[in-house]
């Protein structure tokens, strides 16, 4: 199917799958490797994609979490993500989508304004995370966060659902004058 749906299949026992979508292969590869190295009680499956829709090669497990990786240094990555967002089912945005922004540290290289990304995250009611993916230490910390998010979204954490977590993460949002 061209539109990615959550809960489209029965889950495989004790596994959680995450989909990383981004324009830059190197970043995605590094992130994926770090995530696999992370030890967690459940089995992790990491899928990489440059853009959606995914090629319809079957045997894909159901995706529990989508991470959209935006590099602030290139406008193309932002456009790529925006295009891919149209191929995601609406029910995914109930806590199973996360925007990960990288490259905010070097401001003079940024061609995408921070407010653009913030507006995107606010429009789609999803959490926005910042990380400098090229630094080992920051990447490790971000990977830990992402793994915890993934476990919650896959339902492996008793008592917490993805929507609960979302309302916790986004509770600090207040409507801006533009939105009102």
């Amino acid at each position: 199917m061209s539109v990615l749906r959550p809960l489209d299949q029965l889950p495989s026992l004790n596994t959680a799958a995450v989909l990383l979508v981004g324009a830059e292969d190197a970043l995605l590869q590094q992130l994926a490797e770090s995530m696999i190295k992370e030890d967690c009680p459940s089995e992790l499956k990491v899928h990489l994609a440059n853009s959606l829709p995914l090629p319809s090669s079957g045997n894909r497990p159901r995706i529990d979490l989508i991470v959209f990786v935006i590099n602030l240094h290139s406008k193309y990555s932002l456009q790529n993500v925006e295009k891919s967002l149209h191929h995601v089912d609406a029910t995914f945005f109930l806590g199973k989508v996360v925007f990960l922004t990288t490259g905010a540290g070097r401001e003079h290289h940024c061609s995408v304004h921070l407010s653009t990304v913030e507006r995107l995250a606010r429009t789609y009611r999803s959490p926005l995370l910042f990380c400098d993916l090229e630094k080992e230490a920051f990447r490790a910390a971000m990977v830990q966060r992402l793994v915890r998010l993934l476990l919650v979204c896959a339902g492996h954490v008793p008592g917490v659902s993805a929507l609960n977590l979302l309302s916790l993460l986004c509770s600090s949002d207040s409507p801006t004058p533009e939105d009102l």
């Binding site: 539109v3 299949q9 026992l13 089912d89 609406a90 029910t91 429009t123 009611r125 008793p158 929507l163």
Partner: protein, 289 residues
Amino acid sequence: MSMSQQHLDQQDLDPDSTTEVENNQNAEEELFKECEEMWKDMEECQNKLSLVGTETLTDSNAQLSLLIMQAKCLTAELSQWQNETPEIIPLSEEILVSLGKEQFTKLKHDLELVLSTVQSKNEKLKEDLEREQQWLREQQQIMESLNALHNKMKEQIVTFSESRVISELKTKLHDIKEYRKKLLITMGEFLEDHFPLPDRNAKKKKKNKETTEHLITLHEILELSLGLGAYTTNPLLLEATFLFCCPCLLFLLLLLLSLLLDKTEKSREVERQTPAGGDAELNLGPCAW
């Protein structure tokens, strides 16, 4: 749906822990049955879900529709939580023991973490202490050396006393005066030897018309040249001005002496040439000033 899935996952773990004890097959079988039922429920839910159509969002309608959807889902979850009654897991010994073991291992892990952090903090503090002690030692050394320097410099201080300065100046003045006297005496002797004072009665030596010229002493010459007259009879003032004019006076004296030498040599030559006395007029004018 996610609730039942979570429950299923939890119960999936439980069979692993109870398989260690083979005795209690009943509990196992019961759990197995529960799992099977849950899986059937899940399959039914999945079928229902697959019938639901997909919906994609555009930027314009995303926020509103998502907010509505999130609100609906949250209320559904809330009602589910409220309706649910907590299930009591069968309190068999094995389950309790395994639960207890789990809790103890967790506690041990946490305590180990705490221990390691406290130990690392201790080490850091020890390092800091050593560094600070080293710094203190260095500062004390600096202090000691500065004190030694200070003591050394104290000894070199000579107290300034005005009276000593005055007495030093007085001795200097006395020495200079003595020296000046000595110089004057030697100069007087020199002048006597080479230029004896003419007797006021021996006028015959002078064949000059200007014998009526006043022969004045050098002292009087200097007095006139310095513009000093009888109106300054204060010996101290005279002496002071004389002392202060010493360099120029010396120069004048030297000039005088050289002139005198010239003239007297010439006069002696003339005398030798004209021994019988001459009508040569000796222009001793400039000398007799």
